[in-house]
C-alpha cells in the first residue's frame, strides 16, 4: 500500500467517520509500531463484540499490533468467534467459510505474488482451533505440504466457542463439553509437531499471558513465511464463557496451566529460518 493513498481528500475531513480520521492520522500503517507502542496510536482492532475476558480477543489484539507490515497484510479468517471481531479490523480481511481458510489463503497469496512480484504482501490466516485442527485440518496440512508462503495462527480456546461450547480436537482429554457429555475421549492434538513434520519452517506456541513473547513469535512467523515457507503459531486463548471461569481470570488461568505443565510455550526454527532470523535480527 502506498500509505499516501490513505489521505482524506481535502474538504472531506469533517464528514469522514472519526475512527477513520483517527486511523489516517494516528494509525500504524507504515510506522513499524509494535505492542510496546500500544495505547499510543490508533489500533487496527476498533473494538470487539466478543465476551468479557475473551482470551481470543486479547490474542487477536496483540497479534494485530505485532504485524510487521499491516499496510500490506491481508488476513484470512474462518467462521467462529473471531469472525465476529474481524468486521472491526482495519485491514483487508476475508471471512471465507468454516475450515477453508488455508485453501483461500493459498490462492490469495499466489495471486498477490503474480500481481505484485516485486513487493511483499503478507497473508496471515487467523482462525479457531476447530477451523484449524478439525474441519480444516486437511487444508491446513496441505497448504504446509505445498510450502505455501503463509502464516497460520490458531486461536486455541480448546473448544468450538461460537456454536456453544462443543469439544474440539484441541480440547484436553476428559474435558466435559457439549457433545462430549461423558468427557473427551482422546488427547489434545499436537499440531505444532504436525506442523514441523509437514514442513513449517517456523512453529511456535505462545499465549497472551506473555505479550512480548507473543509479539516476537508472530513477527518471526510472518517474516519467515515471507522469505522461506509456511509457518505456524498456536496461541492459547482460554474461553471464560464456555469453560465457565471468571472473565477477569483469563490471564491467571493461563499462568496456572503453565505452572501445572498443562500448557507450554514452544519454538521450533528450521536451520534455514534460523540463519534468516539471525541475519535480520542482528542488523537491528
Amino acid at each position: 500500500m502506498k500509505t499516501g493513498m490513505l489521505k482524506i481528500s481535502p474538504g472531506f475531513e469533517d464528514i469522514m467517520p472519526p475512527e477513520y480520521r483517527e486511523l489516517v492520522d494516528n494509525g500504524p500503517y507504515g510506522k513499524n509500531y509494535g505492542i510496546g507502542d500500544l495505547g499510543s496510536y490508533k489500533e487496527l482492532l476498533e473494538e470487539h463484540p466478543l465476551c468479557a475476558g475473551c482470551g481470543l480477543a486479547l490474542s487477536l489484539r496483540l497479534t494485530l499490533a505485532s504485524l510487521p507490515m499491516p499496510e500490506d497484510t491481508v488476513i484470512v479468517g474462518s467462521t467462529g468467534c473471531s469472525a465476529l471481531a474481524f468486521p472491526q479490523v482495519a485491514l483487508h480481511n476475508i471471512h471465507s467459510l468454516f475450515g477453508n481458510q488455508n485453501a483461500v489463503a493459498s490462492g490469495l497469496k499466489r495471486a498477490l505474488k503474480l500481481r505484485f512480484p516485486d513487493k511483499e504482501k503478507d497473508v496471515v490466516v487467523i482462525a479457531g482451533d476447530g477451523a484449524t485442527a478439525d474441519i480444516g485440518l486437511d487444508m491446513v496440512m496441505q497448504s504446509w505440504l505445498r510450502r505455501e508462503k503463509i502464516t497460520t495462527i490458531m486461536l486455541d480456546n480448546e473448544a468450538y466457542a461460537n456454536t456453544g461450547g462443543q469439544e474440539s480436537g484441541m480440547s484436553m482429554q476428559g474435558a466435559v463439553l457439549n457433545m462430549a457429555p461423558t468427557g473427551k475421549k482422546f488427547p489434545k492434538l499436537s499440531l505444532p509437531e504436525i506442523a514441523q513434520t509437514c514442513g513449517c519452517a517456523y512453529v511456535a506456541a505462545a499465549s497472551p499471558a506473555k505479550p512480548k513473547q507473543l509479539a516476537k513469535v508472530v513477527r518471526r512467523a510472518i517474516l519467515v513465511a515471507r522469505e522461506i515457507g509456511p509457518t505456524y503459531v498456536q496461541l492459547y486463548s482460554p474461553c471464560p464463557t464456555n469453560y465457565k471461569f471468571n472473565p477477569k481470570e483469563t490471564v491467571s488461568l493461563i499462568k496456572q496451566r503453565e505452572k501445572d505443565g498443562l500448557y507450554q510455550s514452544k519454538e521450533y526454527i528450521s536451520q534455514e529460518a534460523k540463519a534468516f532470523l539471525e541475519s535480520i535480527e542482528v542488523k537491528k
Binding site: Y20, P49, L84, G107, F116
Partner: protein, 380 residues
C-alpha cells in the same frame, strides 16, 4: 509458447479468421483457455473433467497460464480459486458431478463475494451406486447459487462460451461467476469439428479495480473495514443488509442479459419460429432433438427447436413468447428430475402445454425415436 497480442474481444469472437480442427471437447477447453489470458488455474481430477485440466496444465507449462497447481480436493480448490479471484487475478477451474457436490458450500459464496470466476462443469451423475456416466442432474442443484449458467451443445459452444464467459463475468455491473456446462463424455470425449481462433491472439487482461467490491490487496482505499452490519447481529439493519445483498446478486445476473445477448446472439436459438410444436432443450439433448425434428418435418409436421443456451439468467420472455403460439412444448432431458421442464413450466402462461420428457439418465443416450414419439402424439 507463441507470442500473443491482446485484441478486442469482439474481434476475437466475431471477426478473427477461424481454422477448423477435429478435436475433443477437452481439447476445445485447452484452446479456449490458451486464448483467454488466464492468470491462474487450479485443478482437481474427476472423470470426465480430468483431461481438460491436464491440458490446461500443459499450456501452463508452455507459459500461456502464469500459475497452476493441483489442490487437495474440490472444496479446497473452489476455495483457493476464490482466494485468487479476491486477490484480483483471472482464474479458471473445472470439475463435474461428485466434485461439484463436494465443493457445494463454496459456490454461493463466489456469487456473494462478486467473484468473476469461470468454471467449466463437465456434468456427470452424482453417486450411489457409483457412476461415471453423463447426467445433468447436478445442474438442478446449481440453479439458485447465484452463478450464471451457460449450457454448451458441443465442443464449439464450449470453446466459445468459455471465452465469452470471462468477458461477461468481469463486467463491472455483473461481476459474478459464470459456469459453462458441457455434458460429460458426449462433449468432453467426443471428437468434433471446432472452428478455432488465431493462436497469436488473446483477450484483454482482467482489471481488478473494475470490481464493484474492493479487491483484497491492501492497495485500494478505503481499506476494507468490514463495518457492514454483520448478518449474525440480530437487528433490522443487518437483516435488511443481507436481504438487499441477495437481491443485488440477482440483479447482477439480470444485468448480464445484455452482454450475453451480445456474445451468444440471444439466450436462445430458434429454428422454425412459426412451428406448432417446439422442442425446448439444452446441451447435447439439442443435437438429438435436431434428428427427431428432421424426421418429423419430412412427415409434414411443423415442429421447431428452441435451443436454450443460458440457463441463468433464464430466457423467460423469449420462451414465453414462443410458447404462447405453440400447441405443445417437448422438453427432452439428460436427467431424472426434469429440472429444465420445471423451469419452463414456471415461466410460461400455460404449463399444461409442456411435455416433461422424454428423460434419460444414468449415462444413456437419447434415442431420437423417443422425442419423435412425443412429437407425433401432440400432432394428432
Amino acid at each position: 509458447m507463441i507470442d500473443q497480442k491482446i485484441v478486442d474481444p469482439d474481434y476475437l469472437l466475431f471477426e478473427a479468421p477461424r481454422t477448423s480442427e477435429y478435436i475433443t471437447g477437452s481439447e476445445a477447453v485447452r484452446e479456449a483457455i490458451k486464448r483467454a489470458n488466464v492468470d491462474m488455474a487450479i485443478a482437481y481430477p474427476i472423470t470426465p473433467q480430468s483431461e481438460s485440466m491436464h491440458l490446461v496444465g500443459d499450456i501452463y507449462a508452455q507459459g500461456y497460464v502464469k500459475e497452476y497447481f493441483r489442490g487437495e480436493n474440490e472444496f479446497a480448490v473452489m476455495s483457493s480459486v476464490a482466494g485468487a479471484s479476491m486477490a484480483g487475478v483471472r482464474v479458471f477451474t473445472a470439475t463435474g458431478g461428485p466434485g461439484t457436490m463436494r465443493a457445494f458450500e463454496v459456490f454461493p459464496t463466489w456469487a456473494g463475494a462478486r467473484l468473476p470466476i469461470v468454471c467449466a462443469f463437465m456434468t456427470r451423475g452424482v453417486n450411489s451406486p457409483l457412476t461415471i456416466q453423463p447426467d445433468t442432474i447436478e445442474m438442478a442443484y446449481l440453479l439458485e447459487t447465484g452463478i450464471l449458467m451457460l449450457h454448451a451443445e458441443n465442443s464449439q459452444d464450449l470453446h466459445d462460451m468459455l471465452l465469452m464467459a470471462f468477458m461477461v463475468a468481469e463486467k463491472t455491473d455483473v461481476h459474478i461467476p459464470v459456469g459453462v456446462f458441457a455434458d460429460g463424455f458426449f462433449v468432453t470425449h467426443t471428437r468434433d469439428k471446432v472452428n478455432m481462433l488465431p493462436e497469436d491472439c488473446k483477450l484483454p487482461s482482467y482489471d481488478p479495480y473494475s470490481a464493484p467490491v474492493p479487491v483484497m490487496d491492501m492497495e485500494n482505499v478505503p481499506v476494507r473495514q468490514m463495518r457492514d452490519p454483520f448478518v449474525m447481529k440480530s437487528n433490522f439493519i443487518s437483516y435488511a443488509a443481507h436481504a438487499s445483498w441477495q437481491q443485488e446478486i440477482d440483479a447482477a445476473a439480470e444485468r448480464s442479459r445484455k452482454y450475453l445477448n451480445h456474445y451468444l446472439g440471444g439466450l436462445i436459438d430458434v429454428e422454425h419460429e412459426d412451428a406448432d410444436i417446439f422442442i425446448a432443450t439444452s446441451g447435447t439433448a439439442v443435437s438429438q432433438s435436431r434428428e427427431a425434428i428432421a424426421i418429423a418435418r419430412e412427415e409434414g409436421i411443423n415442429v421447431g427447436l428452441i435451443k436454450i443456451k443460458s440457463i441463468r439468467p433464464f430466457p423467460r420472455e423469449e420462451i414465453c413468447a414462443l410458447a404462447s403460439r405453440a400447441k405443445g412444448i417437448i422438453v427432452p432431458e439428460f436427467n431424472r428430475v426434469g429440472w429444465l421442464a420445471k423451469e419452463i413450466c414456471n415461466v410460461i402462461d400455460e404449463p399444461r402445454k409442456v411435455v416433461r420428457g422424454p428423460r434419460v439418465f444414468g449415462g444413456m443416450t437419447m434415442p431420437p425415436e423417443l422425442i419423435l414419439a412425443e412429437i407425433r402424439r401432440i400432432h394428432q
